[in-house]
Symmetry: C2
Subunit: 219 residues, 2 copies
């Protein structure tokens, strides 16, 4: 599959690397083609990996992964271009974290709205699926780092788009039973607000390689 | 222990019932002494159970459990009286849920503040511990309803108060390893925001008898 990964940070590098290793044709997108980190990544990832501007990456891909920082996401996607996102699965992995007031972080949008919904509103023809934002990027692409049954959540307004994302997650190694579809994109509120709890749990666990699982009683 | 449970709803009844069954001297507090539901509860719970106004309940108790609805909590605690809360462990189980705009609910306070912190600010001499708000009340007092290792979180600014709450949780049947101390009371933000995710998870699970557990990789 031709996949754009927007963002050259740790999350973008990790997801892009995994997708390329799985044989997808990955283009890492950044503000300007020739970004040093994107070039280095494309070189190390090998033949099916490329880099370019946000628009380059999105235009040549069927699926777009938003792995930019939450504060920069809307601008990055605008640079990618609404026409280049139209009709495509847009996997939103970003969290609208605000560290400007120090720790603990807050969210730039919360409670009555979410970054996922803001992206969908700004790009109504994209098929936005919120996913993977509830864990460290190492765990995203290698769920086996955390032993046992733990979950990756997703939500979105298009069933077909969610099925495509579920396939990508299966490729990452997520057992189908651990993929939890929370429904429409308003569930992105809970998925993003959970990240504030995640930060505190990380402090207790002592590192980022953990995740939560749902345990069920008889209903 | 002499414990006040403020609130006559499902959560208050469930917690008060369990505490009384464990042999604590429980007083259920409500807006006015003689509340029909509180009277019925005290009668059914037996000898060590009583009922009274919020102030009656708080004044005769060493520990106060806030099991009122989040929207009514500050008013209920004001009626209990700052002097009756001073120096006491105040277990805040409430969630600031707002259903006035329909489903999904939002929070009346979130992100940069929390109900737990608002209660602490309004009653600076109380020893506020946020706990148990992240699950259905049946699971709160009977964790074995959900098989496996799942967690009850707590946070607060006073270590001794948290130790008292941890003891009460042990009485409810929570294994010490499943009691997660998230640190100071600012962690109440994440604990309360998680509830918006909990509502969505309940939709997937199909009922309220579930909980989350933390699974850890090597850090």
């Amino acid at each position: 599959m031709r996949i754009a990964v927007l963002g050259t940070g740790m999350v973008g590098q990790t997801i892009a690397g995994k997708l390329a290793a799985l044989g997808h044709e990955v283009t890492m997108g950044s503000r300007q083609a020739g970004n040093e980190r994107a070039v280095a990544w494309a070189r190390s990832a090998g033949a099916p990996a490329a880099e370019g501007s946000f628009a380059d990456a999105a235009s040549r891909s069927e699926v777009v992964v938003n792995a930019t920082s939450g504060a920069a996401s809307l601008e990055a996607l605008a640079a990618a271009g609404a026409a280049n996102l139209a009709g495509k699965v847009l996997v939103d992995v970003a969290n609208p974290l605000d560290f400007s007031h120090g720790m603990p972080p807050t969210l730039t949008v919360a409670n009555t709205d979410s970054l996922g919904e803001q992206i969908q509103a700004a790009f109504p023809d994209a098929l936005v699926v919120k996913a993977l934002n509830t864990m460290n990027c190492r765990v995203m692409v290698e769920p086996g780092l955390v032993p046992g049954s733990h979950m990756v959540m997703l939500c979105g307004n298009d069933g077909g788009a969610k099925a495509t994302v579920a396939e990508l997650l299966a490729g990452f190694g997520w057992p189908p039973a651990d993929v939890v579809d929370l429904g429409d994109l308003t569930a992105a509120r809970g998925m993003e607000m959970y990240v504030i709890l995640w930060v505190r749990l990380m402090g207790v666990v002592g590192g980022p390689d953990f995740n939560i699982g749902v345990l069920r009683g008889d209903q």
